[in-house]
């Protein structure tokens, strides 16, 4: 039991990562894939933050009454990772909106069926000089 508790964060992080990864890789709805991607990325943060915690420590803001502080480095890294994640999500969502307009569907099977190579190109989505 102690072993499980000692590594509980790691095991749950693995479970969450895999759940998110499954949702992303699975062929289905484009928005759901993005939600799955978001869950996958967020659970990786646990992998960084859990080892940073020190039992009996506090947040790494220096104040006179505390002596033990948790590790500040993963906090910095994860802040960056969160921001990168939301930028990716915003781009992904913008693509989904455009795909919906161009294909009329956001189910991956439909979209791939409609865009099989060799099929006649339908309606420029971006057009060169065309207005």
């Amino acid at each position: 039991m102690n072993v499980v508790l000692a590594h509980l964060n790691a095991y749950v992080a693995v479970f969450l990562m895999v759940t998110g990864l499954f949702t992303v890789v699975n062929r289905g709805n484009l928005i759901k894939k993005l939600v799955g991607l978001s869950i996958f990325q967020t659970s990786v943060y646990l992998l960084y933050l859990s080892p940073g915690k020190i039992i009996g420590g506090t947040a790494p803001i220096i104040a006179d009454r505390y002596e033990i502080y948790s590790n500040p480095l993963p906090h910095v890294l994860i802040l960056t990772a969160i921001v990168v994640g939301v930028a990716t999500l915003a781009l992904g969502l913008a693509l989904v909106v455009r795909i919906q307009e161009a294909y009329g569907s956001i189910e991956e099977d439909d979209v791939h069926r409609q865009s099989a190579p060799g099929e006649a190109r339908q309606g420029g989505a971006n057009g060169g000089e065309a207005p």
Binding site: A6, H7, L8, N9, Y11, V12, A13, V14, F15, L16, M17, V18, T19, L21, F22, T23, V25, G28, I31, K32, L34, V35, G36, I39, T42, Y45, L49, P51, K53, I54, I55, G56, G57, A59, I61, I62, P72, P74, H75, V76, L79, T80, I82, V83, V84, V86, A87, T88, L89, A90, L91, L93, A94, V96, V97, R98, E101, S105, D109, A125
Partner: protein
């Protein structure tokens, strides 16, 4: 039961939050109503943020709340307004996904075999660079919040990259969503008396509680954003959290009173300049350090003594981050909202 120690409280909270997150994640996998999926995603982010606070990562928890449980949910809901809200029934067995997930799970579990136990202060991660940060940062940068000191100064270059990532994402969304419906180019400039229906918020304006509540909250939200921005050296906070909070305030206003009203407060042209401007401020601070004789992003040379230089440097770069983050979040919101308005105007015109 022997005395409840702080350690056992930490473990209890930890475990409870983890189990709830598992439940939320499973819900995302199983449910096909996309609205529910998006909301569960937001719930998951909020639980993660709470867990982060429990793990002493307060800056990160604040950012995750603002970004993951706030902005992300708003964006996904606005996209749902533009697409269908139900996922189609699955047509085939998810074999590939299951195999990939299984392999990844096994590799990670194998890796966790020799990871140090949770909360152990003797772990290798705590021996090398971290104690140096804790010892040196308050003295060299004058900022008690070590995370801000590391983020803005020691690893400030990473943060410049991060701000560039936001720039990339923001401009990417603008490129994809602006103008291409080919009716009128540019972000929709809403008319004066326009109803908020264009933002997918029918009749919100007529709900007294929301109207009054939004008007009361908005100044506090903006004040909070400024507080978080300037107090980031001394408490949890900094450019990102402040930028997202400020943008959220304007988004709230837009949701209740219409995008047109919000664009009178934060015009599109100003927002479009803010997005790249913050990166220029940040990179410019680095160049200033170079011109003053130091390396790129060396703040110690910016003032008469190194600690003051660090103060100014951190202030400048955090301001740059604030400008780009708030500008980008707003620009992205305008882009999505504008798309919806364009589509509705097209539909009405037929």
């Amino acid at each position: 039961m022997t005395g409840v120690t702080s350690e056992s409280i930490v473990l209890f909270v930890n475990t409870a939050l983890l189990l709830l997150m598992c439940a939320a994640a499973l819900g995302v996998v199983r449910l096909r109503n996309l609205f529910a999926v998006v909301m569960l995603g937001g719930v998951y982010s909020f639980l993660m943020a709470s867990l982060m606070v429990a793990l002493d990562a307060v800056d990160v928890g604040m950012t995750e709340t603002a970004v993951g449980a706030g902005i992300s949910v708003v964006l996904m809901l606005s996209v749902l307004g533009l697409t269908k809200t139900r996922e189609a029934a699955p047509r085939h067995r998810p074999l590939v996904a299951l195999v990939v997930s299984a392999v990844v799970a096994v590799s990670l579990l194998y890796a966790s075999g020799d990871l140090p136990p949770f909360g152990d202060p003797a772990a290798p991660a705590h021996q090398h660079v971290a104690p140096e940060y804790l010892a040196r940062a308050p003295v060299e940068t004058g900022a008690p919040n070590i995370v801000t000191a590391v983020l803005a100064s020691y690893r400030g270059y990473d943060t410049l990259g991060e701000t560039a990532v936001i720039l990339t994402g923001g401009i990417g969304v603008l490129v994809l969503l602006l103008g291409a419906r080919r009716r009128r180019g540019g972000v929709r400039q809403g008319g004066a008396g326009e109803s908020p229906e264009g933002t997918g918020a029918p009749m919100l304006r007529d709900t007294v509680i929301l109207r009054v509540g939004a008007k009361i909250l908005l100044p506090f939200i903006l004040l909070f954003a400024l507080y978080v921005q300037f107090h980031g050296d001394f408490g949890p906070g900094g450019g990102f959290q402040a930028g997202v909070a400020a943008a959220t305030g304007v988004v709230l206003y837009a949701l209740v009173f219409g995008v047109a009203s919000a664009q009178r407060v934060a015009p599109v042209r100003v927002v479009l300049v803010m997005v790249p401007l913050g990166v220029l401020i940040y990179a410019g601070t680095g160049l200033a350090g170079m011109l003053a004789g130091g390396n790129y992003l060396d703040y110690s040379v910016l003032a008469h003594d190194p600690v003051h230089g660090q103060h100014w440097g951190i202030f400048a770069v955090e301001s740059g981050v604030f400008v780009t983050v708030s500008g980008t979040m707003l620009a992205i919101f305008y882009a999505f909202a504008g798309r919806r308005q364009a589509r509705e105007e097209e539909g009405a015109g037929r």
